[in-house]
């Protein structure tokens, strides 16, 4: 364990704000404040993949790494739609997933919002409409905000969440 603590002291705090340092710092302050005001300190996100390639999920997982550490802003990914305020929807809404997406949405307690993540749910990704695709997501759900990108980088997701917080 000594080895680990030595390394930890040597590494220090990694949580950083790559590029645009000041801008992000301002964003973080704003996010923190609006989460505090609007969601009593914690915004609970339920991630639902409706048929993506896993890149959007990988970027959401990256939000938890030491560089971004989303949870310090009071934003959490929760394990059940019943714990959530917001459904973060990635993927193209496949024929096979559509009923399950609607079911998960129904489970989220009011008030609730939907944020679409990545180019797939708005049919902006290179995938074309086939019989197995039921997108865009707007056809089935009321979408409050969209975070564009294929996939959006962790920084863009953070920015997108802030825009959402400003909107509501």
């Amino acid at each position: 364990m000594i080895k680990f603590w030595n390394k930890r002291v040597k590494l220090g705090i990694l949580t950083e704000n790559p590029e645009l340092e000041d801008e992000i710092k301002a964003i973080q302050k704003e996010i923190k404040e609006s989460v505090k005001k609007k969601f009593a300190g914690s915004l609970a996100l339920r991630m639902v993949d409706s048929g993506s390639c896993n890149a959007c999920e990988a970027e959401c997982n990256a939000l938890a790494n030491p560089y971004y550490d989303l949870e310090r802003l009071g934003i959490y990914f929760v394990a059940s739609p019943r714990h959530a305020d917001v459904m973060l929807l990635s993927g193209i809404v496949t024929f096979n997933m559509q009923p399950h997406v609607l079911e998960a949405y129904a489970q989220i307690p009011e008030p609730k919002w939907v944020i679409t993540l990545g180019d797939c749910p708005v049919m902006a990704a290179p995938f074309e409409k086939t019989f197995a695709i039921e997108g865009p997501a707007e056809k089935h759900l009321k979408v409050t905000h969209h975070i564009a990108g294929c996939p959006p980088s962790p920084k863009e997701i953070m920015q997108g969440l802030l825009e959402f917080l400003k909107k509501i």
């Binding site: 030491p66 496949t94 990704a125 197995a132 996939p151």
Partner: protein, 455 residues
């Protein structure tokens, strides 16, 4: 003889069934009026999903199969619709009446069932797992997928190879470079050209970088699923560093559209330094994590896939290597000259898969040094010739197979077999001696793709 894939093609009056082994290819034709074939699942159990997929896609009847349930088409999918047939051109389908799916279960006194998914608790792709439980012990697991089925095969028909590229590279985000390399090889075969050495090295570098990113993520997530969060902090830090390098080199964090025929400038000096520092970090990580007995208590002897089963189920990639089966598409002169070493473990458990990942990353770092070259070559491609082409690549999950038939300059049939497609079928074998709480750990140690599997 290792079974690789079995797929069908619509050839007008007949269906052509191609069965691919590592040493030979068998082609069989059946008349559309009487589309009946025999199953291979007695000798090669993983042929089952290929055959069930064929049954859904084309309406081909597998006469002596013991499992004739639909695979791709789920509860509300219209019956008797076979979308891969050439005469199917619908863009919209109506949901039909819900017809329950008969899960493969074990019943008995006190035995109960647990359904998990398709939407999971973590941030992962959708898929369904159906457990038969005796208390905490798992008696049986049925893996059921195809929730992310986007009908990529149909989507690509009628497109040129160039047009298809942006879709092919997005089939599975974690394996994008591998898919692009398969596409590249088919492009080269179809235009009858040789790839300059320097471009081959650039692409090989990117493929290894993708492998490093994926393995580092797993090296964090596997201990995390055993309740050891500190490893995730380190693993995810290292994988983020590597992903930023991918962005620096290709302009995209996942390397989408990175594999092209132009060798752009890369700063080799700084990359050599970065590779060295990553090697140092990894050695520290290995040294540190090997010393945590409570973690290895969870990893050792959990989720064992015996060598005999790994062979019988024709597994590939990390899963096969951890059981002692050295199957790797990189066993060739090009890679061997650049320092490739096959990695295997014998115990076949979660710990073995963890160790294989560490060893593979180390080997990748050695090779990446050798792949770095400053050279600005551009390859001009000739026009594409019609024909039937096949290619392979070793993605971070294992052997990826892709085949494209080109007719009149456009894609007539596209098929790819993700390494996950065979490995998913072997996952239930790993559960025999474990409790349900071990399942997330075992699943993560294989870290298979859902999107690549479903297409």
């Amino acid at each position: 003889m290792r079974f690789i894939a079995r797929y069908a093609k619509d050839k007008g009056r007949v269906f052509e069934i191609v069965t691919l082994y590592d040493t030979k290819t068998e082609i069989e034709q059946v008349h559309k009026q009487k589309p009946i074939i025999k199953t291979l699942s007695h000798e090669h159990p993983v042929a089952l999903w290929f055959e069930r997929k064929m049954q859904d896609d084309f309406g081909i009847i597998v006469e002596d199969a013991f499992d004739k349930r639909p695979l791709v088409h789920q509860e509300q999918f219209p019956k008797n619709v076979h979308p891969m047939c050439k005469d199917f051109n619908e863009k919209e389908l109506q949901y039909s009446k819900f017809q329950p799916y008969n899960y493969e279960v074990i019943n008995g006194d006190g035995v109960f069932h647990v359904s998990v998914g398709p939407i999971h608790a973590g941030i992962i792709e959708p898929g369904h797992f159906h457990f038969s439980q005796a208390g905490e012990k798992m008696l049986h697991l049925e893996v059921r997928h195809f929730y992310t089925y986007r009908a990529i095969e149909k989507m690509l028909e009628g497109k040129t190879l160039q047009e298809a590229k942006t879709i092919i590279e997005r089939i599975s985000g974690n394996e994008s470079i591998a898919y692009q390399i398969c596409w590249r090889d088919i492009m080269l075969q179809a235009s009858q050209q040789e790839l300059p050495k320097s471009l081959q090295k650039r692409h090989a570098f990117l493929l290894e970088l993708e492998r490093v990113i994926h393995h580092l993520t797993d090296l964090g997530f596997i201990p995390n699923d055993a309740g050891f969060g500190a490893a995730l902090a380190i693993g995810s830090k290292l994988s983020e560093d590597a992903r930023r390098k991918m962005k620096e080199i290709t302009g995209h964090r996942f390397g989408f559209s990175a594999v092209d025929f132009e060798n752009k400038f890369i700063d080799t000096a700084s990359l050599h330094t970065w590779l060295d520092s990553l090697k140092e970090d990894l050695e520290y990580f290995e040294d540190w994590i090997t010393d945590i007995p409570s973690l290895w208590d969870r990893l050792d002897t959990t989720g064992i896939l015996a060598l005999k089963k790994a062979v019988k189920y024709d597994t590939v990639g990390v899963v096969a290597k951890a059981s002692g089966l050295a199957i790797d598409r990189r066993i060739n002169n090009f890679y061997l000259q650049n320092g490739f070493e096959a990695v295997t473990q014998l115990s076949g458990d979660v710990a073995a898969r963890f160790k294989v990942r560490i060893a593979e990353v180390k080997n990748s770092l050695v090779m990446m040094h050798n792949f770095l070259e400053e050279d600005e070559t551009i390859l001009k491609l000739d026009s594409v010739q019609d024909g039937e082409y096949m290619s392979f690549a070793e993605s971070s999950m294992g052997e990826l197979f892709m085949t494209i038939d080109i007719k009149d300059g456009v894609i007539e049939r596209f098929f790819s077999r993700d390494p996950s497609f065979v490995n998913w079928q072997a996952v239930h074998l790993m559960m025999r001696n474990d409790i349900i709480a071990d399942f997330p750990l075992i699943n993560k140690s294989c870290d298979l793709s859902y999107a690549g599997n479903d297409l």
